[in-house]
Subunit: 357 residues, 2 copies
């Protein structure tokens, strides 16, 4: 497959692959329509297969020791990557100094550098100088647009006539985006013209054309930018369905999210992603995750919008626990419950098709 | 009274005084510990008393036709204001071109200009030039801090041992901040050491020392900045009570707010500000405001935190309707209900004192 819109890319993930700080890299090696990922850099895992490391299934993307090794490999395969992606997502999104050296090396190799960190590469004078000398670009996908390009909520969402599904979660980093893509592709396979409305940097990297980076938006524009992304996707693509990627979780102490998506995106219904074995909020030990039925009640009370299905993240489960856990959640909530990552989205899509009629 | 920390000031509110777009000016003429307001500019109300216009009670702040009239008046009273405050809060926060002329005139009169608009005066080269020539400053209170000065949520809120009350509302521009100050001053009078945690530009203008401007924060830092403001106020001031000013409203389509305050501020309870006669969200005709009992259920479901009292905004009511409306809300919700703007906060403070034990 070489149809990706921005071509071949190397992902930098030194010291972070297969850790929570490698989230961006994991998303990219699992799936992207924007790039063709040719190698991941993390010396700790050199010589291994990226897919095998994180999912136990080879995906033929090698993990290499260094940028020079990645470039040598690409030269062998006659596919020189034009893009270097900083695939780190450290807590706080700040750039480790150790990454700087490799970024400079990439620029000197005429590669465009893409970063989703909070520290903006394009504001570093030295990097800007090297990029200019080498005629390549520094793209900070978390850098907010200028204010005069941002939108306030206007109510134009009411004109959007297609169906809208929001994928919310009971925690952050719980699998909302992965489920959202599986639903998008499942619906497309069934003949529904479907687009993802991405709300994080990884969805953009994966190719979601109508994307905003919610957590780097100035708060006052959050509702308006969600509304605008949904509206533009509807107007330009004339889709049957829009799938809205949630961020954070409703009752998360650090990342309370999903409200704006419900308020401004006005979805027809919600699919809720949940990790049954996770007891405390990701990154915040001591903060217990509220039971799933409580979280469903919260979503429905706040928005009047119904949760129509649960999708689970099977972390911490044996394979034979998965079905039992789905049945248990079904019994507790009355909602159909699936593990779409393990078993695919076909059964869920059948349910959604009914809701979309 | 001349104890204000930043001295005498003129408030510019042309075409907007006594309208929702004059919200910032209204806050300032009602009360500020930071400035002494000597005049309001709005030619539509010239010659009248600012307090009489908005509250029916004279406060001896004249509304004048123009800046030159305001300055002439100040000269007469030998109190030359050093500050010119842009007291407009238009939807979207953008600066009307008509205001520009007066801002330049203020700078040429050696006045420092303070603005809470989204269009930053300090990024306008012409204004910066005039300010420099006249040795005065342009202060954009909505301009976000640099990222490296911002805080992520850490959980340190758990160390805060004083009581915390959040003032939420059923809409934006409904009177949350005014009620918050009345509660702060009422508790102070009863001997509780109390601080306001301001969350909007007006609270800062009014002198709230521990203030953030929520709607101009980058989304990822909202929880952490709330936590940090509460924590710093507690650590530095050793208060008995912190009163947290809410923004927007829980179910508002354009400004869904209050979640972060509940999640990261972790108040002990909520006081809910409500305008019984307001049927649609401020600025968004066609969007019906959910009934107050529904909104209370939403707050309590999402946070587990109880609403302990309702305070009403009596807009659209005859004076004799107020008591009836309070009784009606009390019957509907079981909660004590007061109009603190009309009748003062004493009765409410009695209730809060019990809760604070």
């Amino acid at each position: 497959m070489n149809t990706s819109i921005d071509g071949a890319a190397i992902v930098y993930c030194e010291n972070a692959f297969n850790t929570p700080n490698g989230k961006t890299a994991h998303g990219l090696v699992r799936f992207t329509e924007r790039y063709k990922i040719v190698a991941v850099i993390d010396s700790r895992w050199k010589g291994q297969d990226a897919g095998s490391i994180i999912d136990g299934i080879p995906n033929h993307i090698p993990v290499v020791d260094s940028l020079s090794e990645a470039l040598a490999l690409s030269a062998e395969q006659r596919e020189m990557p034009k893009t270097f992606i900083v695939g780190l997502a450290p807590d706080g999104g700040r750039l480790p100094q150790s990454a700087m050296k490799t970024i400079k090396e990439a620029l000197r190799n005429k590669m465009n550098v893409v970063s989703g960190l909070h520290d903006f590469l394009s504001e570093n004078a030295e990097l800007v100088g090297i990029a200019r000398q080498n005629n390549c670009t520094l793209l900070d996908i978390r850098k907010p647009l200028e204010r005069n390009k941002l939108h306030f909520f206007s109510g134009k969402i009411e004109q959007v006539k297609c169906k809208k599904i929001a994928i919310l979660g009971t925690d952050s980093a719980v699998g909302k985006r992965t489920t959202a893509w599986l639903i998008v592709h499942g619906l497309q396979k069934e003949g529904f013209k479907t687009e993802l409305i991405g709300t994080g940097q990884t969805a953009w990297l994966q190719g979601a054309k109508y994307s905003i980076v919610l957590d780097s938006l100035v708060n006052d524009f959050v509702s308006g930018e969600i509304e605008n992304a949904v509206f533009e996707a509807w107007r330009n693509e004339k889709p049957d369905v829009l799938v809205l990627e949630g961020q954070g979780s409703l009752m998360n102490p650090a990342y309370p999210g999903g409200f704006e998506l419900l308020a401004a995106g006005r979805p027809d219904f919600v699919v809720l992603q949940h990790a049954p074995k996770r007891l405390e909020y990701d990154g915040f030990p001591g903060y217990a995750i509220q039971p799933v039925d409580h979280q469903i009640r919260a979503i429905e009370t706040i928005s009047g919008i119904k949760v129509k299905a649960i999708t689970i993240n099977h972390e911490g489960m044996d394979k034979n626990e998965i079905k039992l856990e789905c049945e248990k959640l079904h019994a507790e909530t009355g909602l159909p419950t699936f593990d779409v990552l393990e078993y695919g989205a076909a059964e869920l899509i059948d349910i959604l098709k009914n809701e979309l009629k």
